[in-house]
């Protein structure tokens, strides 16, 4: 069965999703165990593939027995294998952490929620594993459609912001599809490796059609990942949704889209074309700088936790896009490493915010007072996540940021390095402001003094921690952030260095 692992990775979730969908009408009690089993199996098989790839190089699987370019192939290499592990791990941790939240928010439609959840993971895993440019689009559709519906149920303006996301996201996906169409007209092929072979030919390297295909493909992906100034859909979509959905969709969608950008840039259009011929790097890094500065400043202006986190996500997208378009080994290493780290950090922060809103029913800053005393475990994990986002060693955030800054300096792009440092400082301000409120301020300050301060104080500081099923996954994620930081060296030398094609200095 080992040789079928690349297919099973996607097929097992798909078959389970369909079974869960049918069973939700017949035997709803079986849905949850099946969902757990299937996401767990996906995680196990993606770890299996990662080990296999590290041991004996990239794995290729032909669907239907038709080899490329006639059929569709799955290629799992040094770039995709670690991202696969991240996607499935995030999905599993969030599923455990959100089980109570799912009961609360989706009580009458749990079966359908699980189906959409698994299909979303299937789509994401497929995007990462595929070696076919069109197949990527098809799986993008699955991931997007399920994402829109998961996000559509929540509070306040959730359905409207999901509709907004649907319009913008569809435009993004169509742009990518158009780009693939232009490439097909120019070359006649859809296979990524085959397209890369064509790109080496001079007539394609100079074709304006191919150049436009590059521009429109990338624009589509930029819309999907929420790169400034195409980020308009992101903050509302992620902050009004149920925390059970947003802690799945927010860490994965943007990161997997960045993976797709790196995949398309390095393995379809080839570095020689993107960084050598087109020379778009400089301009793109400046856009990334704008994204970082804009995201950080707007995060500073927010008054609620989820909104602030969404603007941090926008700034982080800028980190990774900028790192990639620096076009040097350090920058791309940092960018690829940050996909892993940022997925983990975002998961940690969203889970913590989810646990807080589960108890306090509000994520407004003024309702965070005294939270360190009431929810010590949640706030500890939140602190670790915050330190990672700020970039304090030994958390993982420090190391990827280090690679990115070195990359910026090596490329002579000091503006980018400065933006990273600026953003770290702003993040420090952001989070220490929250720590101050949550640690030093007493809940109910400014009112209720006449009750007799001491009694009031004691009552409010009673521990009201979130359920254990939320705390344990959250703690695991927080420890994971430190573990990722400690093992950065191994991840970079054994996996990511091998993922970057030769010829990038």
């Amino acid at each position: 069965m080992i040789r079928h692992l690349p297919a099973l990775l996607v097929i097992v979730p798909l078959l389970t999703a369909l079974t869960v969908s049918a069973l939700s009408w017949v035997a709803p009690r079986l849905c949850l165990p099946l969902t757990f089993g299937c996401i767990g199996a996906s995680l196990a098989s993606s770890i299996g593939i990662l080990v296999e790839v590290i041991k004996s190089g990239p794995v290729v699987y032909t669907m239907g027995g038709w080899s490329a370019p006639v059929g569709i192939v799955y290629v799992i290499d040094y770039l995709s294998a670690p991202v696969l592990v991240v996607v499935t791990a995030v999905a599993l941790i969030n599923l455990i952490a959100s089980s109570k939240q799912i009961d609360r928010d989706f009580s009458d439609k749990k079966g359908t929620f699980y189906t959409l959840y698994i299909l979303f993971v299937t789509g994401m895993v497929g995007i990462v594993a595929t070696g076919d440019a069109f197949n990527l689009y098809v799986l993008l559709e699955i991931a997007a459609l399920t994402g829109y519906s998961l996000i559509g149920i929540g509070h306040e303006r959730a359905p409207l912001s999901s509709l907004n996301y649907l319009f913008i996201g569809t435009i993004g996906a169509s742009f990518y599809l158009l780009g693939v169409g232009y490439l097909y007209i120019a070359t006649g092929s859809l296979n990524m490796a085959d397209l890369a072979r064509f790109m080496a030919m001079p007539e394609h390297g100079t074709s304006t059609m191919v150049m436009f295909a590059f521009i429109i493909c990338m624009t589509g992906l930029f819309i999907k990942m929420g790169l400034f100034p195409l980020h308009g859909w992101l903050p509302n979509a992620y902050s009004y949704a149920s925390p059970a959905s947003s802690a799945l969709v927010a860490p994965l969608t943007t990161k997997v889209m960045i993976y797709a950008m790196i995949r398309v840039g390095l393995y379809v259009f080839t570095p020689a074309y993107v960084f050598g011929r087109l020379q778009v790097g400089g301009a793109m890094v400046w856009i990334a700088v704008a994204a970082i500065v804009f995201g950080s400043l707007l995060a500073l202006a927010q008054k609620s936790l989820f909104k602030m986190l969404t603007y941090i996500v926008i700034a982080e997208v800028g980190y990774m896009v900028g790192g990639f378009f620096l076009g040097n080994r350090m920058g791309i290493t940092g960018s690829a490493l940050h996909i892993i780290n940022d997925a983990a950090m975002t998961l940690c922060l969203f889970l913590a915010a989810g646990a807080i809103t589960y108890r306090t029913k509000s994520d407004d800053f003024k309702d965070l007072k005294g939270l360190f005393h009431q929810m010590p475990f949640t706030m500890t994990a939140f602190t670790v996540g915050a330190l990672a986002v700020i970039g304090v060693p030994p958390t993982c955030g420090f190391f990827s940021k280090w690679y990115l800054i070195i990359g910026g300096i090596q490329a002579g792009h000091y503006g980018y390095a400065a933006a990273l440092i600026f953003s770290s400082l702003v993040n420090a301000v952001l989070f220490f402001r929250i720590f101050e409120t949550a640690y030093f301020d007493q809940p109910g300050d400014g009112k209720g003094h006449h009750h007799g301060h001491h009694k009031h104080h004691k009552h409010k500081n009673k521990m009201v921690e979130a359920p254990v099923s939320m705390i344990v996954p959250l703690m695991i994620t927080a420890l994971g952030l430190i573990a990722l930081g400690i093992y950065t060296g191994d991840i970079v030398t054994h996996v990511i260095q091998a993922a970057i094609p030769g010829g990038i200095a």
Binding site: H4, A7, L8, I11, L14, L15, L18, T19, S21, A22, S24, W25, V26, Y61, T62, M63, G64, G65, W66, P69, V70, G71, I72, D108, K109, T112, F113, T115, L116, L119, G126, F134, N135, V138, L139, E141, I142, L145, T146, Y148, S149, G152, I153, P159, L178, Y182, Y184, I185, A186, T187, G188, S189, S207, T208, M209, F212, I216
Partner: protein, 279 residues
């Protein structure tokens, strides 16, 4: 804001058109799209799968993996509609309308009034918006529906030889039920084709597709490699008919999925998720 939007659209459109000028001429036999893979598909479809319609071979075999996910997209759309729209708690309208069948009179019964029995032959419930009792529409549709369904089966079965296949056949099947619902009403349709049936059948349709692929995997070949089905079908190994039958099996799955999801989406959209009064 409107001006910015308009300008963006115009600029995008102009760029798309400008770069489209580099395209090869329409019908150019020497363009890459026509010379690279297309000849392979056209020349080998009979040899590989014994299917003369090369579009079907590409869709369901060479790139069958994509089509499996396209079918899943259809199911996902149905699930999304259900997930976002369906309301289980019944919010009964303040007044209900009934038709007294022998006389054709319409009755309006206010909330709290005594309603006729559920299975009453004399009174039938009608939608509150507008529901004329049209003998012509009901009987014409009753006549047409059977033929639409028969033609749908023909389209599904003949995808190998003529334009058609699971998607088209499934849409036809779905539209026949929707036609019934439009010519009668939603409640009567729901009695004949329940929501549960639509939901379960949709999932089963895609399961037939991916299950066919999974059986290939269990038989030792790669996923969706229909060649591996030949022992199960009593064919010699390497007989292209195995692929032909494999394609037929997935087409049936697609037809089930598309039909049920069309109906399911119609139920949820037409009644805003309440399944009480539809179009």
């Amino acid at each position: 804001m409107k001006i910015t939007g308009l300008l963006t659209v115009i600029i995008c459109g102009a760029l798309l058109t400008y770069y489209a000028m580099d395209f090869p001429d329409f019908g150019d036999g020497r363009s890459p799209a026509n010379t690279y893979l297309s000849p392979h598909f056209l020349e080998n479809t009979m040899h590989d799968a014994h299917v003369p319609n090369s579009v079907t071979t590409i869709l369901a075999d060479y790139r069958g993996y994509d089509t499996m996910y396209e079918t899943t997209v259809v199911l996902t759309a149905g699930l999304a509609c259900f997930f976002l729209l369906r309301r289980k708690e019944s919010t009964s309208p303040p007044a209900r309308f009934f038709r007294h069948v022998p006389t054709g009179l319409t009755l309006r019964i206010e909330e709290g009034g005594k309603l006729p029995a559920e299975n009453s032959k004399v009174f039938t419930r009608i939608d509150s918006l507008w529901a004329p009792d049209s003998l012509i529409i009901r009987n014409t549709c009753r006549l047409i529906i059977a033929f639409v369904q028969l033609f749908a089966l023909y389209v599904v079965a003949h995808g190998h030889y003529s334009p058609g296949g699971g998607f088209q056949g499934g849409v036809l099947l779905g539209s026949s039920i929707i036609l019934f619902s439009i010519s009668n009403d939603l409640r009567r349709t729901l009695k004949r084709f329940r929501e549960k049936t639509a939901a379960v059948l949709g999932a089963i349709g895609v399961l037939i597709y991916s299950g066919t692929g999974f059986v290939c995997l269990l038989m030792g070949a790669h996923f969706l490699n229909y060649e591996a089905l030949s022992p199960l079908l009593g064919l010699k190994t390497g007989d292209p008919m195995a692929r032909s039958h494999g394609i037929f099996s997935v087409e049936i799955g697609v037809a089930f999925a598309v039909m049920s999801v069309m109906i399911w989406i119609y139920y949820n959209l037409s009644s805003a998720g309440k399944h009480d009064e539809g179009l």
